[in-house]
């Protein structure tokens, strides 16, 4: 098991370094002047010169990448700007501060938004899926497949805005989405994110219901389930201990993909609900041409996708012991 995790982690680190390199070289190696990009469209010459020096643009490109990369592990000194300690992802010339602090400020929102929604739609989807499979009820199954089709086709900025209009502005049923740190007040934290969670759950739940139902029906027809039944095991144990285990494997894979998509698409969710998370941060970095900040947000988003992939693989190995051996 440990070897499995180590191998996957190593692969993930390699992927991240490649993504960092590709992003770095594309942004810094294109024949345009990165200092001008970093400085903005109207830029006085002395500021341009300073930006060029601060970005280390007087050094060869590869050396620049290496010093950026080593900054992550050992920190880095920016001349005239100060020290950027150990996991240094760069220095934002717009904020006049290391980028990591700003990102860590915004990250809890994005994570709360994503994970909160995922917990809701996963539990709800799997539960309704199991019920649908056990009842083999045609009605629930039909509803699930129609709503999963709509969920897959609808745009979050459309339903989200409609929900804001009808639930917040017209009828004041829910609050305007707002982030309150969990440690400050768990209730306000949940209340503030309730609307985005509901909208995300509306979009994603039905797919989990449908997938769980069809896999569960398949699993209930398997020989080992029949054996368990034949030796007199209660129906509840058969479902919970045997059939569910087999059902979860494909579901967890989809969850991993969805979580990655949610984090990568956090920009859209955050823009729709006016939440100031990492997604919004990256948009602001683009509009203010804050390259180091942009690099860092790309890396954080890629990191999230990669980390979720590993978590999914590990969960996979726990659910299905055969995976560990391969």
């Amino acid at each position: 098991m440990l070897r499995f995790i180590t191998r996957r982690t190593f692969g993930a680190v390699v992927t991240l370094v490649i993504i960092a390199a590709v992003t770095f070289f594309l942004f810094f190696a294109v024949p345009a002047d990165p200092a001008r990009l970093a400085c903005g469209k109207v830029c006085p010459p002395e500021l341009l010169e300073q930006a060029r020096h601060n970005l280390g643009l007087d050094q060869p490109l590869f050396a620049q990448f290496v010093s950026w990369l080593s900054g992550i592990f050992v920190g880095r000194d920016y001349e005239g700007l100060g020290h950027c300690s150990a996991p240094c992802l760069g220095y934002s010339f717009v904020n006049k501060a290391p980028v990591l602090g700003t990102i860590l400020d915004r990250l809890p929102l994005t994570i709360s938004l994503t994970i909160g929604a995922a917990v809701i739609f996963f539990i709800f989807g799997v539960a309704t899926g199991i019920i649908a499979a056990l009842r083999q009820g045609k009605a629930l199954d039909k509803i699930a497949s129609v709503s999963s089709l709509i969920g897959a086709s609808v745009q979050i900025y459309f339903v989200g805005t409609l929900a804001l209009y009808f639930l917040v502005y017209q009828n004041h049923i829910l609050r305007q989405p707002k982030y309150v740190p969990f440690t400050e007040n768990p209730l306000s934290w949940a209340a503030g994110l309730l609307l985005p969670w509901i909208v995300l759950a509306l979009i994603f739940t039905a797919n989990y219901t449908r997938m769980t139902r069809s896999t569960m029906v398949e699993q209930l027809g398997e020989d080992y389930v029949r054996t368990a039944r034949a030796k007199g095991m209660s129906a509840r144990s058969v479902v919970m201990r045997f059939a569910l285990r087999g059902t979860l494997t494909p579901i967890v894979t989809i969850l991993g993909i969805d979580l990655g998509a949610l984090i990568g698409g956090a920009i859209i969710t955050e823009t729709t609900f006016g939440l100031q998370g990492v997604g919004q941060l990256s948009i602001r970095a683009v509009t203010s041409s804050d390259l180091p900040m942009l690099m860092a947000t790309v890396l954080v988003a890629a990191g999230a996708i990669v980390v979720f992939n590993i978590i999914v693989d590990i969960m996979y190995a726990f659910i299905d012991p055969r995976v560990r051996l391969s």
Binding site: G11, V14, T15, L16, I18, I19, V22, T23, L26, F27, V30, P31, A32, D33, R36, L37, K41, L149, I150, A152, S153, V154, Q155, Y157, F158, T161, L162, L164, Y165, Y169, S214, G260, I263, G264, G265, I267, I268, T271, T272, G279, S282, I283, A285, V286, S289, L294, T297, V298, A301, A302, I305, V306, N309
Partner: protein, 317 residues
């Protein structure tokens, strides 16, 4: 009595026969064709309707927009003259914006779908057929591409592209934005298809008919094009039909975030962007592109499902 005569039918005919019996499939095909026709005949519709998507009716004709730029008539200014209302602010005709917007979305999505499919097919087949080191390298590239936060990257890269091709004093030309969008969507789209086809080729490579071809001395090119490819058309077609709506929504999302098509080219995504800015005062303006895109994507997804069922009736969804 003679038994009914057996008729020889090609796989294509069989598929068509099965498809014709699928009511959902036919209905969604009708909707998709309707959208295509609207896109193709947009100028004709414009001529019949008597308006174009660029004129600022609300600003040119007094009595349509109030002092704040919102339509005076209720429901976004819907009237017999302006069927779907008037755009707040600029005062353009919403119906024409929608009709011409289909053209933009479809043109970009269709080109990107064709390119994505072509690249995905070639790379997938090469990886699956060549195996070994080639397969490993392509596999890692696919992993990396799939781990890229593509939306974020496209947003970030747009100003870089513009900085290369456009000097700061100039406006970004429309064609450049369109080409960049197509290239970006293609760049992040091919990996999924390549991975899928690689798996298919891998399982097919050891089958008897491929082995037989190899033993009889067929060249790799012949094996790929004459033996493998005909067996891959079904998954390719299915994937392409699911890819198109996905790309339409990706393009809309990028426009919603402000890096899609630029003014004055009509575009659904930009209508969403404007709609979400002013929804508290005029929700109607958001509803038209929202419903149109929803219907379009649902129809396309259903069509994709029906095509899959028609090709492979045994396949369970």
């Amino acid at each position: 009595m003679k038994p009914p005569e057996t008729v020889g039918r090609s796989p294509g005919q069989l598929m068509w026969l099965r498809f014709r019996r699928d009511r959902t499939g036919i209905a969604s095909a009708v909707v998709v064709i309707f959208f295509l026709l609207v896109a193709i005949f947009a100028p004709v519709i414009s001529w019949l309707y008597g308006k174009d998507p660029y004129a600022l009716y609300g600003q040119d004709t007094p009595g349509l927009l109030n002092d704040y730029g919102y339509p005076i008539l209720p429901s976004g200014g819907i009237s017999s003259d302006f069927w779907f209302g008037i755009e707040p602010g600029l005062g353009r005709d919403v119906f024409m914006q929608l009709v011409y917007g289909i053209r933009t979305s479809l043109l970009i999505a269709v080109i990107a779908t064709v390119l994505t499919t072509a690249i995905g097919v070639v790379i997938g087949i090469v990886a699956g057929y060549a195996g070994g080191k080639t397969d490993y390298v392509i596999g890692r590239v696919v992993d990396t591409v799939l781990s890229f936060p593509s939306v974020l990257f496209i947003i970030a890269f747009m100003p870089v592209v513009e900085n290369i091709f456009v000097s700061p004093e100039e406006e970004t030309p429309v064609w450049l934005r369109a080409v960049t969008l197509v290239v970006m969507l293609t760049l992040f789209g091919w990996a999924g298809l390549a991975r899928l086809l690689r798996g298919q080729v891998l399982s097919m490579r050891e089958r008897e008919f491929v082995e037989a071809a190899r033993v009889t001395g067929a060249s790799p090119a012949r094996i790929v094009f004459k033996e493998l490819l005909p067996n891959l058309w079904t998954p390719i077609l299915i994937q392409a039909s699911l890819l198109l709506p996905a790309l339409v929504t990706s393009e809309a999302a990028l426009s919603f975030l402000g890096v899609g098509m630029i003014e004055p080219i009509p575009d659904w995504g930009r209508m969403f962007r404007r709609g979400t800015e002013i929804y508290q005062n005029d929700i109607t303006y958001l509803i038209f592109p929202g419903v149109a895109l929803l219907v379009f994507v649902i129809a396309f997804n259903l069509l994709g499902d029906s095509v899959r069922d028609a090709f492979d009736p045994k396949l369970k969804r």
